[in-house]
């Protein structure tokens, strides 16, 4: 399948540590590879990169920094074979995202080199971070995926991340400095201008620059992050995903795409302890079936987008 087609990059982030981003990244990656696609997983989790553990691969292999420091000449040379056919792993991206001085030039260079990799799908695990670099990476991909558990803390953190990402995206698209300054101010929840939500921000921007306000509205319409609800235990939990979608519609005016949910399942913990991915170890478990369904939905949405 890999070849001249453009690769699709999905970034998995938001929320907080422990919501299951690495588990979901790994297992969706394997499902996509089972569909016959070339897949690369990239570990960019600042809080503790451990995709290799989920795959049962040793961490001593070459990393992205070997490429950045020019110890190897091609990015593909630092890809690790995972033992799963069609699935490769790239670690060490967190070093670049972590750097306080990571300039957007550098980030763009990283993204370009990632885009140059030969693969159908590239999944980037961003971890629970909320730094500007992480936000930029989340926004630069073809699709951002938020992984949330049905708990107040997880949902709160996800909204915080989403708000940061949304405002960051608006900031990138407006042209006037005064509008940028207003957005910066609105990022602070207790700002002096009294801007408490995106609509009040829009109202303020409209007052100073009509064109930028129009741009913001257009941008909001094209911002479609995705949501996966993990560790659901009841039908009511599943409904929370739809409620989050509605809340985002009313609060941000954006359309969040509810990709699906993964049920709480003892088998997940067991597979992680064994360092064997769930969809390989226990493909008939409930959680594995949920992940498989999400993966095929992702593959379909991508096909539809490309009109395939």
């Amino acid at each position: 399948m890999a070849g001249n087609q453009q690769r699709v990059i999905w970034t998995i982030g938001g929320g907080k540590g422990g919501s299951g981003k690495s588990f979901i990244t790994t297992n969706i990656g394997i499902c996509l590879s089972h569909l016959g696609a070339q897949v690369i997983l990239i570990d960019a989790d600042l809080g503790g990169a451990n995709l290799h553990t989920f795959l049962g691969v040793l961490p001593s292999a070459p990393t992205l920094s070997d490429f950045i420091k020019k110890r190897v000449s091609h990015l593909k040379d630092v890809l690790i074979q995972t033992g799963v056919p069609n699935l490769q792993l790239l670690t060490g991206a967190q070093d670049l995202l972590d750097a306080a001085d990571a300039k957007s030039v550098q980030k763009r260079k990283l993204l370009r080199s990632i885009q140059s990799l030969e693969s159908d799908y590239i999944l980037v695990d961003l971890g629970g971070g909320n730094t500007l670099s992480v936000l930029d990476f989340f926004l630069m991909s073809d699709g951002g995926i938020l992984v949330v558990t049905p708990e107040p803390t997880s949902i709160e953190n996800t909204y915080r991340f989403l708000k940061s990402a949304f405002y960051r995206r608006l900031r990138q698209t407006v042209s006037s400095n005064s509008a940028k300054a207003l957005i910066d101010e609105a990022m602070d929840g207790k700002n002096e201008a009294g801007i408490r939500n995106p609509y009040e921000l829009l109202k303020e921007v409209r007052r100073i620059n009509e064109d930028d306000a129009r741009t913001m509205v257009e941008e909001a319409e094209t911002f479609h992050p995705n949501l996966i609800l993990n560790q659901v235990r009841s039908k009511k939990d599943i409904e929370i995903g739809f409620s989050i979608r509605s809340a985002c519609q009313k609060y941000f005016g954006i359309h969040l795409h509810y990709l699906g949910y993964v049920v709480y399942d003892q088998d997940v913990g067991n597979s992680i302890r064994k360092r064997k991915p769930l969809v390989l170890e226990n493909s008939r478990s409930k959680a594995a079936q949920c992940v498989t369904e999400i993966a095929s939905r992702l593959a379909n949405s991508h096909r539809m987008r490309k009109g395939m």
């Binding site: 049905p150 708990e151 107040p152 949902i155 709160e156 909204y159 408490r196 939500n197 995106p198 609509y199 829009l202 913001m216 509205v217 909001a220 319409e221 409904e239 929370i240 739809f242 409620s243 989050i244 509605s246 809340a247 519609q249 009313k250 609060y251 941000f252 005016g253 359309h255």
Partner: protein, 197 residues
């Protein structure tokens, strides 16, 4: 990006302008569940005041859209705002026009059971208004059709003892999204009345 005040009733409930009565009912239940002060999905985004505003808009949208006459006049007065051909942004089901006519022909009663006691006959009317047939209820609840018919006919002679009946009523109420407690109470009253005779 439209503020609550600027959204049409359809946008408030997140339904297409072609939504059926059943779709509106479901959307309303969902919105009530979502914009509720205990809802996990909203408490950290909206202030109390904002929540009240949303709740009021949801109620108003439901009130208008569930009444055929009010909905028609709303559609006319807001035709410039209502997007008749959604751009496929949301997963809206387009309903064939015959189905819309079918479900809207039951206009004699308001959808909420309202003043009527919660009993078999009102259940039947509500079900018909929503355009759901007994077979669908039966497959959803795993209750056999005959029993559902007896429930609707309030045929106490054939129905099982109240202790079993309660479970059936609960299941039926859940499908129609009516208050199961009220239904059970209303139904048990029937037994009381019968005893007195």
């Amino acid at each position: 990006m439209k503020r609550i005040e600027e959204q049409t009733h359809y946008e408030i409930l997140e339904v297409s302008p072609n939504a059926t009565v059943k779709e509106i009912q479901q959307a309303y239940e969902h919105a009530r569940e979502t914009f509720h002060s205990d809802s996990l999905a909203v408490y950290s985004l909206f202030s109390e005041e904002e929540m009240q505003k949303i709740q009021a808009s949801v109620e108003e949208a439901y009130r208008v859209l569930m009444d055929e006459a009010l909905r028609r006049s709303y559609d006319q007065s807001h035709s410039h705002l209502i997007e008749r051909s959604p751009k496929g942004k949301q997963t809206e089901k387009l309903v064939p026009s015959s189905e819309i006519k079918g479900s809207l022909s039951f206009t004699g009663l308001s959808l909420e059971i309202g003043e009527m006691p919660y009993r078999g006959k009102s259940l039947k009317q509500l079900r018909e208004k929503l355009g759901i047939d007994l077979k669908a209820i039966s497959s959803e609840t795993k209750i056999n059709i005959k029993t559902l018919e007896w429930i609707e006919e309030e045929n106490l002679d054939f129905l099982p003892a109240p202790v079993y009946l309660k479970g059936f009523l609960k299941g039926y109420a859940r499908v129609l999204k009516v208050d199961s407690q009220k239904l059970i109470e209303g139904y048990l009253q029937l037994y009381e009345e019968r005893k007195k005779k």
